[in-house]
């Protein structure tokens, strides 16, 4: 139990009396209030000017994106509800385009094929790309080597996907390099027909074109793993599988999701590769849109495009369920 005089003594610090301290505290509080009021009065001006500066910096890019991205995308949605004319479309509302597509079995089959095809490519890219990213990010220990190999693996990104699709032509076909090689090795006796103008050929070519979009995000996520945590897991008695499942995979998950979204979207909307490798035998939503445009069926092409976007959106939603990107990045 302490007496009042004791308490007074406790606050009597450094020869200052309690009243002095209280007075100073009050003065400080008043000052703080004044400063705050001053700040509030000045704030709108400063904030306004800052906002203006920010607006000036962002305006050119924003306007460009509004003009060449948002307006075109909205335009597609609009046109899909408009009426077809001989030379294009007119702004008379209709649901005919969607009715036509809903009743067209061919279209549904191709949309479904495209969707399924993309998922297969995503899975293949993940399975085949993961070891590559793992090797680059974890097995290679020298930073210089890591950068060099990463550049070598990623350089094809900067080359034309059209050319890389064309480059598959001499590889495939009945007399292609792959068939010849397989025959020379004695693995097959007759040339395989699936190696050109087929779903299989398109899948292989697209995998080569887009696997980089899987490897890169995986690499960036895996490279952030602290190698000592792998050692720690091993020291604590985890085997390779357990280390992989409980240490590496959770870290890599955002990369898996981002890479999958990339590959899925790019292959869903793909058109040129399908045309070159598929040789008109394989159709995708992209080739359908192109065909409809060529026959001046603009509103129908727009409706197909809207379906494509909806399908993509659904696919992305499914992929996002595997990882909460917002929290993990």
């Amino acid at each position: 139990m302490s007496s009042p005089s004791d308490r007074e003594g406790a606050r009597n610090v450094g020869g200052l009396r309690t009243e002095d301290i209280e007075q100073a505290e009050q003065m400080l509080a008043e000052r703080a209030q004044e400063t705050a009021a001053l700040g509030e009065r000045a704030a709108p001006g400063v904030r306004g000017r800052r906002a203006l500066v920010t607006a000036a910096w962002t305006a050119p890019g924003a306007v460009w994106l509004l003009f060449f991205l948002l307006a075109p995308v909205l335009m597609i949605v609009l046109v899909s509800f408009w009426t077809r004319t001989v030379s294009g479309f007119e702004s008379v509302w209709t649901l005919e385009n969607y009715e036509f597509l809903f009743q067209s079995n061919v279209y549904w089959n191709q949309l479904w094929d495209s969707f399924w095809h993309s998922l297969v490519i995503v899975a293949a890219a993940l399975v085949l790309g993961f070891p590559v990213a793992y090797f680059l990010a974890i097995s290679v220990t020298s930073l210089r080597m890591q950068i060099a190999l990463f550049i070598v693996a990623l350089a094809p990104f900067w080359t034309s996907y059209l050319i890389r699709a064309v480059a598959w032509i001499p590889m495939m076909g009945r007399q292609g390099a792959l068939n010849t090689a397989l025959e020379d090795l004695g693995l097959i006796s007759e040339p395989l027909d699936i190696l050109l103008f087929s779903d299989f050929a398109v899948t292989v070519a697209m995998l080569q074109l887009y696997i980089l979009f899987m490897v890169a995000p995986l690499f960036f996520m895996l490279a952030q793993i602290d190698r000592s945590s792998l050692e720690a897991a091993r020291d604590l008695g985890a085997n390779s599988f357990k280390t992989f499942r409980e240490v590496i995979l959770p870290q890599a998950m955002p990369g898996v999701v981002i890479g999958s979204i990339f590959v899925f979207i790019l292959t869903m909307g793909e058109f040129a590769t399908v045309r070159i490798i598929g040789g008109g035998q394989v159709a995708s939503v992209g080739t359908i849109v192109q065909t409809q445009v060529a026959s001046v069926q603009f509103p129908q092409a727009a409706a197909s495009a809207v379906f494509l976007v909806v399908a993509m959106f659904l696919g992305v939603l499914v992929l996002l369920r595997f990882s909460n990107l917002r929290e993990e990045l």
Binding site: A51, T58, A167
Partner: protein, 299 residues
């Protein structure tokens, strides 16, 4: 760690196979471009010649190939410059939070995610709706920049994240105006990032087919020409020569950028080292004041 070493070896072999998968077809294509005059588009090689490369410059299609190549080069260069400028200005805005920053960020990401064929189609509709004619410079430039912008923007955001804001304050304290600070302090520090943004804008436009396809209105770019040669007619080895040449241009651009980046990084590292040496040398100078007393208050 024996097992670790074996894992590493197996992965290394796998990595080599992966590179073979990536580069194999292109190498085969390049090899086949040197077919003899009577050679076909697949193996075997029938002699070795420059016949098909010669076809590129003096064959019947030479004129249109040259024309489209020059047009593509111009378009890609301009697209690269616009991407660099827009990426710079946009990312400058993102150095401070602002009200619509989330929304605008989603718009930039939408640019990354929208399929090229949709962009092409939508822009064609939009222009038709406004009763304007589509054209390479009016519209295709726009859609190609939309493709390169997210990449350039992300590069610049990464640059600003590692950027020291205080140098600009210092410059302003020393009496430089905003413009002068920007030109003499900011730009020299971030120009490698800008070059990277340009590289993305250039190579992506140089190789783009989908985003130009419905907009070029007769003025073909090189990828459009290549597509027409592939799909519209019988393929001959000169297509491989053309493909090899355009790939070489892309890789040359990337290589040039890497060389420049390496030189800049090395110079910066050397500068840093000499600054450290200087600082070390400075601390070794005996201090005139007696120990325990400092001329300026410690921070």
């Amino acid at each position: 760690m024996r097992r670790g070493r074996w894992t590493k070896r197996i992965l290394a072999v796998y990595f080599l196979l992966f590179l073979l998968f990536l580069y194999g077809p292109m190498i085969v294509m390049a090899a086949l471009s040197f077919q003899g005059p009577r050679g076909a588009v697949t193996f075997p090689m029938r002699g070795l010649s420059l016949h098909w490369w010669d076809q590129l410059v003096s064959g019947p299609r030479a004129d249109s190939i040259r024309e489209t190549a020059i047009r593509s080069l111009e378009l890609s260069a301009v697209a690269g410059v616009v991407v660099a400028i827009l990426a710079l200005t946009l990312s400058m805005g993102y150095r401070r939070r602002f009200r619509a920053d989330g929304l605008l960020f989603y718009l930039v990401m939408l640019a990354l995610m929208t399929p090229g064929i949709l962009l092409s189609l939508g822009t064609a509709f939009f222009w038709r709706f406004m009763d304007e004619r589509t054209g390479l410079w009016e519209t295709a430039l726009g859609t190609n920049v939309v493709w390169g912008l997210p990449f350039g923007f992300l590069i610049m955001v990464a640059v600003w994240n590692r950027y020291d804001d205080t140098v600009e304050e210092a410059s302003r304290d020393l009496g430089a105006g905003s413009l002068r600070t920007f030109r003499e302090v900011t730009l020299p520090l971030v120009w490698t990032g800008l070059l990277g943004a340009f590289l993305f804008g250039f190579t992506l436009a140089w190789n783009e087919y989908d985003r130009t396809a419905l907009l070029a209105a007769g003025e073909n770019t090189l990828p459009l020409e290549i597509f027409a040669l592939t799909v519209g007619s019988v393929i001959r080895p000169d297509l491989y020569a053309l493909g090899t040449a355009t790939t070489a241009v892309s890789l040359l651009a990337v290589g040039l950028f890497l060389v420049v980046a390496a030189i800049v990084l090395r110079r910066r590292a050397r500068l840093l080292r000499s600054r450290q040496d200087f600082a070390e040398a400075a601390t070794e100078i005996p201090q005139p004041e007696p120990a325990g007393v400092r001329a300026s208050p410690a921070r």
